[in-house]
Symmetry: C2
Subunit: 289 residues, 2 copies
């Protein structure tokens, strides 16, 4: 199965960004990709760099956005993983991945469960933590374990998707560097980000597809300079081996997913067999003090 | 704090192997190491390549072994992490790490919780799964999150040690290649092994110290050729950055652990803050079917 990750930059406004993304979806579809992954909040800039209620306006188009991407999935006959700003009611919003089937129907959605809140990433202001749990989304291409960005640092999230039968793990994401950090610190951060996600592939015997954005985006509040999104979208197989990796430029990243390989790797490295579920109760505690 | 990992080979019998290990402990102690880690089952060959009750004889010296390594820890005034074959009673054995304080007292022990059983690694025949849980061991150098080999593939084990206040994660291990595997497969296995352990550092904001054995050891049953233990013992910091890494030869690997760095990294990457403990109950299930 051929997949495509569309690693894009923000083009200044929604219309231009969406147009550019749609153009890439068409290209990827023509190239034979059946599953297409978009980056986190691909319709807009990463607006969480500051806390400003004006950005809730972006979520007003939630239902219209779903109709729009449904049409795109159908037109291109692809399973499409989008990342949208969900308005549930006034004062209640989510960071939500909506997955569309090849015929344009909604296969399912995932509301980001782990929400960060750190300088430049003020997501707790915007997004209510998800309440749909860690449920893979059934599609014609298999059960997709869709998680979002900050979730990628949590082995628990990947494990739960695996225990619920996910065929692969998918992370739309938006992560980058602050220019004031040292070159060494930037390298450490990028390596950490790749390593933790590859480890989910290894621990669970599942392919991982991670789609990040690129480009520099200014902090709208001018408190900080802005974020330089580091790209490096990648696909690794169920043993953690890199199948494809993008650089720091806008690109469409293709990879072939071999679903038979999951069984081979899992049978050879049967980690699920030996989990000590009798001794894991404290995982549900905040801290054991 | 200076640590030393003694990556050794088996010298054909217990007497020679122990003598060699003690010599390395003295060297490391003279070099200023305060914490010394030995590889898994360092007193003998890795006898789990076949299932043979004769090897239970190795556990008969369990109490004597404790007295011996206690003396070595005291003589060198180091905190010493050993890996021994515990006889609890006839027909009931464990793969147990015993940690000694600088004065030779037993600081605590950890019984390997996750037990593998795969061609060449028939541990379920020898070792009853641990029943002491995931409890870090308090020493004068901090709380040591000691786990053993197969545990290293389980994010749950590392997380539980973290939630219980571990200051670092320590893995005595014995893992290697079969010569019949391809070069590419060997590379994948080694990379997986390094990646999963670095990921525990990243997910938990803790240094990881992993001590493996080296050398080729024949399968005593002659069913398979044997195992080529791949060494590559390493120490990484709480962001997953490699501080020191050994090759495939016998060696003493030194590293400096900066305990202040744990706080810095954890405060900057506060993953423990955002865990969705309300949604982790299914981690205690074997599979959600």
């Amino acid at each position: 199965m051929k997949v495509a990750l569309i690693q894009n930059k923000h083009f200044g406004n929604k219309k231009k960004s969406v147009k550019n993304t749609v153009c890439d979806i068409r290209t990827a579809s023509v190239q034979g990709a059946e599953l297409i992954i978009l980056q986190e909040l691909h319709q807009s800039e990463y607006f969480c760099q500051s806390e400003d209620p004006k950005f809730f306006l972006y979520a007003e188009s939630w239902e219209e956005d779903i109709r729009y991407w449904s049409k795109i999935a159908k037109e291109n006959s692809v399973v499409l993983v989008t990342s949208l700003f969900e308005k549930r009611t006034a004062g209640l919003y989510h960071n939500t991945a909506v997955v569309f089937e090849k015929d344009g129907t909604v296969a399912g959605k995932y509301r980001k469960m782990h929400i960060p809140d750190d300088p430049g990433f003020y997501e707790k202001f915007y997004f209510t933590p998800g309440d749909l749990g860690f449920e893979p989304i059934q599609t014609s291409l298999g059960k997709l374990g869709v998680l979002i960005c900050w979730d990628q640092w949590y082995p628990e999230a990947a494990r739960l998707m695996t225990l619920k039968g996910a065929d692969m793990l998918i992370y739309p994401t938006a992560i980058g560097w602050f220019d004031e950090d040292s070159k060494k610190e930037k390298k450490r951060q990028l390596e950490s980000w790749i390593t933790i996600q590859r480890s989910h592939a290894i621990a669970n015997g599942l392919p991982v597809l991670s789609c990040n954005r690129v480009g520099f985006e200014k902090d709208a509040s001018a408190v900080m300079d802005g974020i330089h999104f580091w790209g490096n979208s990648f696909v690794c197989d169920s043993q953690g081996e890199m199948l494809a990796q993008a650089g720091e430029e806008k690109s469409i990243l293709y990879a072939e997913i071999d679903k038979q390989r999951v069984k081979e790797v899992r049978d050879m490295w049967p980690f699920l067999r030996d989990r000590r579920i009798d001794a894991y109760a404290d995982l549900e505690k905040r801290y054991c003090d």
